[in-house]
Structure formats: C-alpha cells, structure tokens
Symmetry: C2
Subunit: 526 residues, 2 copies
C-alpha cells in the first residue's frame, strides 16, 4: 500500500493510473512470469486444498488505498494464479473448458483498453458493424442461406441474425424468450397469466430431450413457464430423443390445451456428447407448427468438419440455435451466441428507450438480452479468420479421433466399463470393483442396489482422489439411461478431450492413474 | 492467409498456436502501436462515417484459413481500432462509458490466458473463493453488516451475498427473479399462470419510478409479468419518486388483488443522475411488506464519498441492489453485480445438475443467472485494492465538482438552458434558438407545440453534428418531467462527466463547439 496521501498527491496518483504512466513493462512482467510458472508443468493445480485456500479469503474490508500496482500484481502472482486450475494441461480432460490459442489474449487486452460498449453505436461505432458481420458468418455456418440473403440482412438495422451473449445459458434463455413471445404474442406486454387466459390455455410448456442442459430448466423458470413446464422426452441408450414419445407428448399437449413454446433438440449433450437426430425432431416440430430450438452449445462447431457434419443434419431447419464460442470455438469463457433463422424473430423482444435506443438505429441494444456489452466479436472474428474452417475442422476431427482411441483404451482395460459409444469427443465410463466385474459384464441384471451403490461410491472416490492429486482430471456425472435400465442412475466418469495438445500418452496416463487409485482402494480395509 | 496446407503442417500450425510459439512480442506490438495512435489524440473517433464503414463489413464467408496472426493483427490495427470510439477522450462526456485505469488490461489479459470458468470449483478452484470474497466486500460497502456476519457468510457455501453478472441489466433481472419467486413461491416450479391462479390474483407487478431504466422493462417482460406489469410512479422535477403516489399505487394494487413483486428505487437515474429518497421508499415498501430493490448501477459507488454518501441513505434497507462495476468503479465493460441483504434470498432460484452442480458444493453455478463465467472478480478486487476507498471517493467527488462547474458554465451562456440542477455527475440542458430564448426564460407556458418541436430539432441537429465531427461528444435524451410540465417531452443534451482526465477547459470546449454549430445552423436558411 502506498500509505496515507494528501489530496494533491492522491489526485496525481489517480491521474497517472488513468494516463497509463503508472504501469511499466517491468510491472506487467510480474503477471507474465506467474503464468510461465503455471504452464511450465502439466499439473492441473497446486497442491493446496480447497479448505486451506478458503481460509485465505476471509478478509472483507475494503482498504483505504490507493495501493501500489506492482504490489498488487505480486499478490496475484503468489496468492491467486498458482491456485487456479490449469485448464490448458493436456491431462485436464474432464470439462468443456480448455486452453486457448495464443492469439486470443492480446486481442482481449486490446479490447479492454478500448472499452467499447456495443449497446450503442455512440460508444462503439465500427464495432457494431463488426459484430453484425461476425454473427452473419456464424449464421452462414449453420443456415447456409444464399449470398443475396446475407447481402440483404447482415448489415440491415431491421434484421437480427443472432445475438452475442455471455454464454450458452443466456443463448437458450434469449431463444426461448423469443419463442415464448412468438407462441403467446400477448405475453411480453400483458404478462403470461393474461396471455394464457386469453387463449384459455392451462399452461405453456417447452418439450425437450431428457438430456437437456440445466440452463433450459433455468430458462423455463425465469420465463414464467415454471420448471414443471419443461416436459422431458425419453432418450434411447445412444442419447437420441424417442421421436414417438415426442409426438405423443405434443399430441397430449394439444389435447390438454397446453401452449407449446418450443421443441428442443440437442447437438452435443453435456453429459455424453450425443447428438439428436435433428431432422426427425424438425419434422415433428413442423407437423405441430412449433418453434424448433437446437442447443448446439457444444456441438455447433462440428459443422466445420466435412467428416462429421452430417451428424447435425437438420440443424438448418431450427428456428433458433445456441452455440458457445467459448467451447469448441476455443475462445475465452464468456462468449456465446443465439442464432435465428429468420431475421425478424427478434422483433418479439424489441425495446426502445429515448436516451439509448432509437428506432431505425443500428444500436445492438435494441434487440438484446443484456445491456452494456464489450466488443467481443473481435475475438470471435479472429478465431474464424486465424483458425479458419480448416483449423476448426482439424480440432473437431482430432477430438473425435482421440476419444475413439480412448474408448479402445478403456475396452482394453478390463477394470473399466465403457458406458456408451462416443459420438463426439465426450466419453462416459466407470471403474468396476474386482468382485463385481464379471457379473456386471455377463449378467448386469443380477447386480443388487447395494452392488450399484458400492460401484458408485468407488467411482466417486476415484474421481475425487485424482482431482485432489491434481496430476490429471476427469469429471463425473450420473447417467439415467444405460444398459442397466432407465430406472437405475449410474455414477460415471466423464472425459472431454478438447485440448489439441492432449496426446494418447496423456489419456493413458490419466486412465492408469485411476487404476492405481482404485487398486489402492481395493486393497484398503472397508 | 497462409495458403493451402497439408494435414501435417496444419496440425503443426494449430499446435503452435495452442503452445504459444506462434506469437512473439513483435507481433503483439502491432496492437500496442494501434492503441497508441488512437490515444495520441483527444479525438473521439476517426472521420469515417457510419455509412462508409458499414460498406466494409459485408463479407460473411468464413475463410478456409489458417490465417497468419500478424496479418490479422495488422487488419485490426488498420480497419477496426481507428474507427471505434475513443471513450477515454477527455472530451467524450456524453455516456456512462469512459477510459480505464491502466492496471485493468494486464489483469484481463492474465485472466484470458488462465481461462477459468467459475461455474464450478473444478474449473476455477481459488477463483471461487476469490469471487465470494470480492462480492462480500461490495456487500459490506452497501449493507455494512458486522464483522461476525461476514465471517459467517462470506465463504459459506449455503450463503449468497450477491451475484457477479455481465452487467446491470442482468443484475436487475436476477434481483427481480428472486423477488418474483419470493412473492409467488410457486412461480418457479408451477409457472406464473398457476401461481397467480392459486392466489386468485389478477397479475403480478413491479412498481417503479417513472425514471426507471429500460432494463426493468426487459425484466418484467422476460419474467412473465408483462410490460404492463411495470407500474410507473410519477417523479418530481428533481427526479424524486412521489411517495404519496407510490403509496396510493400500492393501495390500489392491494385492493385490486395484484401481487406486488417489488418496489424500486433509483440511485443515479440514467437520464439525469437523480437519486431517489431511498429511506422514504424503504418505509413504504416495509409498510406493505414488499421486496425493495434499488437500481444503483450508476450511483452505488457514491457510497465511497464521505461528502455525498448521505444521498443514498436507506440503500442498506434494500433487499437487493444492482451495481455496475463497469460504470463508476471504472472497470471494463461486462461486469455488474446484484447484491442481496439476506444470504438466503437466492434459494428462490437454486438449481442443481448432476454433472456440474452438487448440493453443499461451493460451485458458484448453483445460484446464478448465467452459466459459464470468467473469473472477473480479479479485476474488481484489483479496483478495490488499487484505487481503494480513497481513490473511488476522489473519482466521485471530482465528478460532482466538475458537473457543478459545468452547470455554472451553462448558466453563464445565455444560449443554453439548464434543465435540472445536477445531483451526481450527470447534467441535462439544451440550446435555445435566439428567437425563442427570451420567452422560454420568462414565459415558458407561451411556447407553442411548433416552438417546442423547433427547439427539439435544433438540439437533435447540434448533437448529431458534434458527434459526427468527433472532436467532442455529448449524448441526448428526452425528458418527460421539466419546468415545461409533465405532458411535454423535451429533447435535451446530456453530459456525463466521469473521466478524471476531463478538465474544465475540455468541458468549455465541448459547450463552445455546440454554440458554434448552433450559430452556423441559425445562419442557415430553413
């Protein structure tokens, strides 16, 4: 801390911070050095436990300040940076967050200095057109409309091809907000109660696959439909929505007078990576004249892969699509999109305000879920130009190739059970204790509840011990539809292979560490 | 572009990007140089018109790539950076976005490289505790509970003192989401229609001052209350909510069986900077047992000022408070907070999901509006430690001092009319054409509709010409409650003085440029 200051020297210290004189390259180097230490190892984190770290973050008084920048950077370098998660470690293969290509950080730094606010042209100017262009590029990836369509709509202030949002959760909320208002046009002005009453409808619902991401549960809650208004349709062991069940759900809704706001399909389920047969769901949605939304937060970029893009056939028939740029577009956390097939869908949520949003203006704040927003299209545009179609294709193809290698590696280890064939680059499996291994293989129906609970517990322990050792990382989840039936939740280990620097050797090392942990566990008295 | 590549060299090029070998300091320097060019002048933007820029952003095909990073940075440096808005110009005094202290950008760059995701401990570890600590510091600024309270709740996984969100819009939505579920506990599960029906209520409403920010209109729309469910209470010429009108609105709601979700107060109205008498609104909310929310997106940091904090007396009685860190905490766009007086308010929106959010965990995703989020508490914590209480106090006090100087400067120029005495650092005024000046001053009631339309038009033109010349900037808005009555909307010029580098000379220059534009206009044939 700089210590008590008189008014004049405080004024001067603040002015120096805003002019930039207070920061030299040597000070910045503190942070660069801290990063280098993290990335010099493949460890996933420090050895400090959560409980130990917690103790260090109890102080809640705001200091008088001003503080010295160099001192503060040293604090970050020693107390914070080493104790985060090294998501760029090639052995961190358990969540959807990974390391980034190196071109991203300098662009984000540039953006931070520029501090544009795209809610309005007057605080962003060229960034408004840049964002519209970037959204149109992604729209084209998904919908592939013709050149004339993009010439007409990309920069037309009355058209909205999509919305940049802080992530897929807001992408799903924004899409379903539009869908709700499309199904019940009175909802936005008169409220949901009045809108339902005027249609003599009992309730409004969203119909989604059982594997739907929890953000959709959040969406129906926020939008007033209620969590009970999320009707879940069963999926088969491959994670595909049961189309007959979907049809009969929609018929039941019609018969009971429920307003169906949207039917959902999933392109890349969070738990298993499975991809719905989108064409089939699109058919059903069309039969019933219902808004079709695809949550492609994870799987959207598979469209770059000539080898695998056919998996997403039918996505171009979706009325709205969520894609996360911070997932398989390998860009910083905090960047998602909702894309809209028709440029006028967003009219359902348009707003104006005298001082900020005027009719006919290009201001992006006119049709948006958020208000003030940074010009993050810059980093998305950079990804599309620097990695490009071929770069993203390679990332997708390599992820699939490696996960298949991992599936083989699991099959080759009798201690492990593959719970589903992978579709994209996500894999679910579990460890089977020695005593139950044979029965699980040959007569899964003979496993008792106690047996299953024992297996679940072993897998929980393996996952936690590996995580705490921080040499490698796999996540865990609970599956509800496996070869053990749909009424038997199964705790499983879940791998996401997204880091292009992850090698087969890394994958094998992570698996083998789990076997070592399991072997130690089995040797332990119980 | 690098040109067509075979698979091996493509693989290598991608790996280099992810290892960081593809980027050297010389390449990064391209972006630094581009910034220097922007900041070497006080201009607000380039001379390029919006229409001219638009033409350059029509290409929507995604290139095959991969592209060269240095080429791409040069593209940004020449085609994008110069044509944004220099929000750090001391003569950009028209919006709530300004330049930042220099310590922010290197921290954001660090965060980008670390790419933490605070939705879950497993992708953020220490960042979870860091965020909780930072939120508790802001909670303490607003609510000033005792040390024991913060010891109990700051790091308690069952307590939620606040939520970091991408901005004030989400802060207001999140707060009103909690309030809706508190007023109608069945809404989250059974939906708003059923929740209202079970209470035999006609509708659910939010009662807010007429100056309420448009994000609240968005909130009532999204939450299913409907825009008609936002009941606006008149304000006086100082922008204070009419407490008698507020009381009678609440009585009418009770008599008509409307469920009141929340009563709002404003601390720093977007248009005028006025601050409600929060204590008075808190009294009324308490009388009716209604959730009290304060939108302090702009004004919250005034609590740092010993001289002015009394303006916000009563804010500590609010059930929820929105504050934007990217406004008067001078941090990058994309960072707001909702704060909650009681640590259990957020239970109303809690969610769990097997693979991501487990009961009893510290995971921040359990009670949040967004899903994946970056570790932006780092930059907020930095502001609180580097600028500190005294730094923020100085920024607040200087803004108020300069806006009062500006009010005097306007009074000293007979061509200009001050439309309200400033409360914080926002000011509204307008230009009066020579022919109407005297009557506007002595007999405002004699101005006809045509006179008013003429004044409005002159002010629109002044604002647009100054903006397009890009040597200085003032925004404009429409006021509905002035000395001309509450049924006569008045177009006005609006200044926000937030940049500590803005001097009295800058303010005078911006005003004088407007007078020059006006004088040229008056000389023009009409």
């Amino acid at each position: 801390m700089v210590g008590a200051m008189n008014d004049a020297s405080l004024t001067d210290a603040i002015a120096r911070m805003f002019r930039g004189d207070a920061l030299d390259e040597r000070v910045e180097q503190t942070l660069e050095d801290a990063l280098r230490e993290v990335y010099d190892t493949d460890r996933v984190s420090s050895e400090a436990s959560a409980e130990a770290l917690l103790e260090r973050f109890g102080e809640t008084a705001i200091p008088d300040g001003p503080g010295d920048i160099a001192d503060y950077y040293r604090y970050l370098a020693s107390n914070v940076v080493p104790h985060g998660i090294n998501v760029a470690s090639p052995r961190f293969i358990g969540h959807m967050t990974a390391g980034l290509p190196s071109f991203a950080a300098p662009i984000v730094k540039l953006l931070t200095v520029l501090n544009q606010n795209v809610v309005k042209m007057e605080t962003s100017k060229v960034f408004t057109f840049h964002e519209r262009q970037t959204i149109a590029m992604l729209h084209r990836l998904v919908y592939a409309r013709d050149e004339a369509f993009y010439e007409e709509h990309a920069q037309n202030s009355e058209s909205t091809l999509g919305m940049l949002v802080s992530g897929g959760t807001l992408g799903n909320i924004a899409s379903l907000w539009c869908a709700r208002n499309r199904a019940l046009p009175a909802a936005e002005t008169q409220g949901l109660g009045a809108a339902l009453a005027s249609r003599s409808a009992r309730r409004a619902v969203v119909v989604a696959p059982a594997l739907v991401h929890y953000s959709v549960l959040k969406a129906v809650g926020i939008l007033g439909l209620g969590q009970n208004g999320l009707l879940r349709v069963p999926v088969d062991v491959r994670g595909h929505t049961d189309l007959d069940a979907l049809r009969s759900t929609l018929v039941r809704c019609r018969d009971e007078g429920d307003v169906v706001v949207a039917v959902l399909g999933i392109a890349g389920a969070t738990e298993t990576g499975s991809v719905d047969r989108l064409d089939g769901i699109a058919d059903v949605a069309a039969e019933h004249g219902v808004h079709f939304h695809v949550d492609a937060a994870w799987g959207g970029p598979v469209l770059f892969s000539r080898r695998h893009r056919d998996l997403l056939r039918g996505i171009e028939r979706a009325d709205s699509v969520t894609i996360d740029a911070h997932k398989q577009l390998y860009l910083p956390v905090g960047l998602g999109l909702a894309l809209f097939r028709e440029p006028d869908l967003c009219r359902a949520i348009e707003l104006e305000a005298d001082y900020i949003i005027r009719r006919g203006s290009w201001d992006l704040g006119r049709r948006a879920l958020e208000g003030s927003r940074p010009g993050t299209s810059l980093v998305l545009h950079a990804g599309l130009h620097i990695l490009g179609r071929r770069g993203y294709e390679l990332l997708v193809d390599e992820g699939v190739r490696k996960i298949r290698w991992m599936a083989d590696a699991i099959r080759a280890r009798p201690e492990l059970e593959l719970l589903a064939e992978p579709t994209l680059n996500i894999l679910v499996y579990r460890y089977l204790p020695k005593a139950l291994r044979e029965r699980a293989g040959s007569a899964p129906g003979t496993l008792s509840d106690a047996d299953h609970e024992r297996i679940d517990q072993v897998n929980r322990t393996i996952q936690e011990r590996q995580r705490d050792a921080a040499q490698g990382f796999i996540s865990r989840t609970t599956l509800r539809s496996t070869r053990y039936g749909s009424d038997r939740p199964i705790v499983c280990l879940r791998s996401v292979v997204a880091n292009p620097l992850t090698t087969e050797r890394d994958i094998a090392a992570v698996l083998d560490e789990q076997l070592e942990i399991a072997s130690a566990l089995e040797g332990e008295p119980r």
